[in-house]
């Protein structure tokens, strides 16, 4: 069977996105695709039109797909051709220019048009608007408004909704006086409650925009051109320019003429098809689903996604069930995020409110049954990402509501990033600037992974990832492509960590190669091997089938590779407490092997740097000390202070505890490295409060246990998990946390990200209060892992492969070979 014909009417955000979605599902092999656009261009991002009007965006920067894109993808574009008729019997569409195209499947994505209220004296005799009156919808409108504004002095915007205010901002930037005229008692009544509307009005007035509320415009004044507006209450307003932005109406005329069911929009079912014709679909602002017509971009993305799944047969039963409406945007440069309902609707709905009129900040949460039912964040949208997530997923909110309204400083990064110059360096590891990131986004990297891959930003220490994400969000806006692979445990297998663990356990996969065979179609992904090895070791412990090629070089030779290809050797010095004989041995080794540098590390141990791979086993043998694991994603070290043994301030025996911690957890594999500390008093000399796990002795013979501290690329004070009385209890709760982290941490997720992700309250409930009864199982698992520990430096005498420590296979010199050759001859 040949290809079917897919015809799309409308080359706006919905129509073009649908074509993108169909193509990305290999729909090009199933369909010849034809798209009609009313406007004579490729498709552009209508959301950014106000930026064009305001002069902050160049028109060419808002195009999503240039004309060449259609050609490259074999999509036939009729740009500037309006469809005048759909012939459902012959399955043809007729263009105004005489074009006729046959369709098998037809998608109507005609969007909407500005609603123009019936005003007296609005039109000239020829039926066009009076001079100086505009609507604001297309690039052409932008052009006309901007050029007329050059000669105007005072503009009135009819409509105080989102689009009206955007138009007002544009006009203000063009340097003319702006008045906003609004029918309702407060601005943006669709999104905001009256208090928020009031805060916004004051903010706008501070910017120099006059706001006239509850004004019903009845007539346009002026003869040749506009000179003012007349209101129903008898008052008038002087102006020499009017922009009408009083809402939008779905474009349904074409569908109506074709005999399809129309209410406010073109009625579609969960299959996005018209109930009257199974081969005709509708998406976007013109479609009406379960009584709803959506005017925001996110629901539209969901619709095109579902329809593409159906059309390409990827999921012929995909159903659209409506969208939860939320949006994050800027109104006149003011941050705004809204989601769900704006007012309490039930008796038991809980409302949390914060108002700071002077700075134009208004925050409101509507909470129902512990879940977010709606929110307004005006003037400061710092908490928006996590609230949006909680809203979308319907998660139970933390008890401390203030945390939701005032998130940690890290989450407000997005705000300061906007002010950063393009030259500012974002990724300090790979030297990637904001400008380079924005350029890559403009060039089409619209997913986080694509952006990182293209620029290398975020691929070093990873601490800039939130900033990279924020730049992506602000530069790509709603065009961001969610990349499912960001949730994969390793990049090469399409599984989240829980799904992957389940598959590995169900199918009894004990080795990395077995996992690739069973779950990856036999194709090994080198970047996924190390993460899989770590996971398998955690799942299977002793039964894990070790394959050395799945290890990073450091873990193949149990030392840390250096820039000159030598290695560093750090023997374990438990709790940082050493002895004269140990030091003498280390000194002897340093001399014997001409070690270029001997250095005291930050973890209270001694580093021998510059050891060749071949020398590693000899060095270990001569040292006669166990590995310090300064190279692997595992428990590293426990830094201590001298505590009660000598220090006159000590209140707890931190050295003994540190030694016990190291002896117990040495070499324990984990999603990322774990650096620990034990303090003998709250003066924190061992810096335990900024370690992955820390113990701090406090007066009364007690120990505080800290988790999730950091003093690396990020600095974070740990959270207190619990306070206990004995060393044994410290070991018990530290072990519990470690095992939970081993099981639930993402690969390369440090404890400080992990603890923040889960929240300390949840961890306390799970690990201390033991609300789910998992405590004793975690204790047993960690005990088994501790017992399975073997010092890797024992491989000095029993290498796993004869060439484990061979750096370079030196073939014989020429002379020797020749001799050999001659002797053979």
């Amino acid at each position: 069977m040949g290809k079917q014909r897919l015809v799309v009417i409308g080359n706006g955000m919905a129509g073009a996105r649908l074509v993108e979605d169909v193509l990305s599902r290999d729909g090009g092999a199933l369909y010849d695709i034809v798209i009609f656009g009313d406007e004579p261009y490729g498709n552009y991002n209508r959301i950014l039109l106000s930026g064009v009007l305001a002069g902050t965006h160049d028109p060419k920067d808002i195009f999503i797909n240039p004309l060449s894109w259609y050609e490259q993808n074999n999509v036939k574009l009729h740009a500037g051709v309006r469809i005048t008729e759909i012939d459902r019997v012959a399955k043809l569409v007729h263009g105004a220019d005489g074009t006729i195209e046959k369709y098998d499947k037809l998608v109507i994505a005609t969007g909407s048009a500005p609603f123009v209220p019936p005003l007296q004296n609005l039109y000239t005799e020829t039926g066009s608007f009076k001079d100086g009156v505009f609507v604001f919808r297309t690039l052409n409108d932008c052009d006309s408004i901007a050029s007329y504004a050059g000669q105007a002095r005072r503009a009135a915007v009819i409509g105080g909704g989102l689009l009206g205010l955007e138009a007002a901002r544009g006009l203000l930037n063009l340097g003319i006086e702006v008045q906003v005229v609004h029918l309702m008692p407060h601005l943006m009544e669709v999104q905001l409650d009256s208090s928020a509307g009031d805060v916004l009005r004051r903010t706008m007035e501070r910017m120099g925009v006059s706001v006239h509320l509850e004004k019903n415009t009845t007539a346009v004044l002026g003869n040749g051109h506009v000179t003012g507006l007349q209101f129903k209450d008898g008052s008038m307003l002087d102006c020499d320019m009017v922009v009408i932005s009083a809402g939008i109406r779905p474009n349904v005329a074409l569908a109506k003429q074709a005999g399809l069911t129309i209410e406010r929009g073109i009625v579609v079912g969960d299959d996005l098809a018209s109930p009257d014709d199974a081969d005709i679909y509708s998406v976007g602002e013109c479609a009406q689903h379960r009584g709803q017509v959506y005017g925001l971009v996110a629901p539209l993305w969901e619709q095109t996604h579902i329809l593409a799944e159906r059309l390409t047969g990827r999921n012929p039963n995909a159903n659209y069930r409506g969208s939860k409406v939320s949006t994050k945007l800027k109104v006149m440069g003011v941050e705004l995020a809204v989601m769900g309902i704006k007012d309490a609707a039930h008796e038991n709905d809980e409302v949390v409110n914060y108002v700071e009129p002077l700075r134009g900040i208004y925050k409101k949460l509507v909470i129902r049954n512990g879940r977010l039912a709606g929110a307004i964040l005006l003037g400061d949208a710092a908490g928006a990402p996590s609230l949006l997530q909680a809203f979308d997923r319907g998660t139970i909110l933390p008890d401390n509501r203030a945390e939701l309204l005032f998130p940690l400083a890290a989450e407000s990064l997005e705000l300061s990033l906007e002010d950063m110059p393009d030259s500012a360096q974002v990724c300090n590891c790979n030297g990637v600037s904001k400008g380079q990131l924005v350029q890559a986004i403009t060039n089409g990297c619209r997913s986080f992974k694509a952006l990182c891959d293209a620029t290398r930003a975020g691929t070093g220490c990873g601490s800039c990832k939130p900033q990279v994400q924020a730049i992506l969000a602000s530069a790509a806006g709603d065009l961001i492509i969610e990349d499912p692979s960001v949730n994969y445990y390793v990049p090469g297998l399409p599984f989240t960590k829980p799904d992957l663990i389940q598959a590995i356990k169900e199918q009894n996969l004990y080795s990395v190669s077995a996992v690739f065979d069973a779950l990856g179609e036999g194709r090994e992904d080198p970047t996924s091997k190390v993460g899989l090895a770590s996971l398998l070791k955690t799942i299977w412990g002793k039964d894990y089938e070790d394959e050395r090629d799945a290890r990073f070089i450091n873990d193949r030779v149990h030392a840390n590779i250096q820039k000159d290809k030598t290695f560093s050797v750090i023997p374990r010095i438990y709790g940082g407490v050493t002895s004269a004989s140990q030091l003498r041995r280390i000194a002897d080794v340093a001399e014997k092997y001409n070690v270029p540098m001997v250095k005291i590390t930050g973890g209270q141990r001694i580093d021998l740097l510059g050891i060749t791979k071949e020398d590693l086993p000899n060095v270990w043998r001569d040292l006669g000390m166990p590995s310090g694991h300064a190279y692997s994603k595992a428990f590293r070290t426990c830094k201590t202070c001298v505590g009660t043994e000598f220090c006159r301030y000590g209140v707890g025996d931190s050295t003994t505890l540190g030694i016990q911690i190291e002896k117990r957890f040495q070499g324990l594999e984990s999603p990322h490295k774990m650096k620990l500390g034990a303090n003998g008093c709250p003066r924190n000399c061992a810096e335990a409060t900024t370690k992955d796990l820390g113990a701090v002795a406090i007066e009364g013979g007690k120990w505080e246990i800290y988790i999730g501290g950091a003093a690396g690329s990020r600095v974070r004070k740990g959270d207190v998990l619990c306070v206990v009385d004995t060393h044994e209890e410290v070991l018990k709760y530290m072990g519990r946390f470690m095992q939970y982290y081993r099981e639930h941490g993402k690969y390369l997720e440090r404890t400080y990200d992990f603890v923040e992700r889960l929240g300390i309250e949840k961890l306390k409930r799970l690990l201390v209060a033991d609300e789910e009864g998992i405590g004793s199982r975690l204790d047993e698992e960690i005990q088994a892992a501790v017992e399975a520990y073997v010092d890797p430096w024992q491989e000095a005498s029993e290498p796993v492969h004869p060439s484990q420590f061979v750096n370079i296979v030196n073939l014989a010199t020429k002379r020797e070979i020749e001799n050999e050759r001659h002797s053979r001859v």
């Binding site: 970047t527 820039k563 750096n807 073939l811 020429k814 002379r815 070979i817 020749e818 050759r821």
Partner: protein, 140 residues
Amino acid sequence: MNATVGFKNKGAIYNLGSVEQIPVGEGRTFQLGSLAVAVFRARDGKVLATQALCPHREGLLADGLVGNNKVVCPMHSYKFSLLTGQSIGNECEALQTYAVSLNQTGDILLTLKHQFCIEEANIYEPSQQSACSSLGSANE
């Protein structure tokens, strides 16, 4: 080491010894005179060879992670195709690749092309009859 020699198309074939010198799934660096070659023994049975050092910061590619005809350098995780030598995901010079095969006894045979021998004047050249021999060797 038992490097012996054959000839083909004016190039030279070098026997690098048994493939068993390389643990399955890993690579090892082989030094032939002044030429260092990374030879990989992939789990799928393929044996592939490239230049030894990463063009980025001279990491030993043989110590990298291997899979799906790719190697990831242990130094800064630059990724390369083992088939074409092309850098994947980074702007980086491509790797020189070399043709390798196994003989019946499982020895690694490395073929160096004639033009390559000329570029690498210091290459170890085991035979006077080789097309490259006139260029001499630094090891003599």
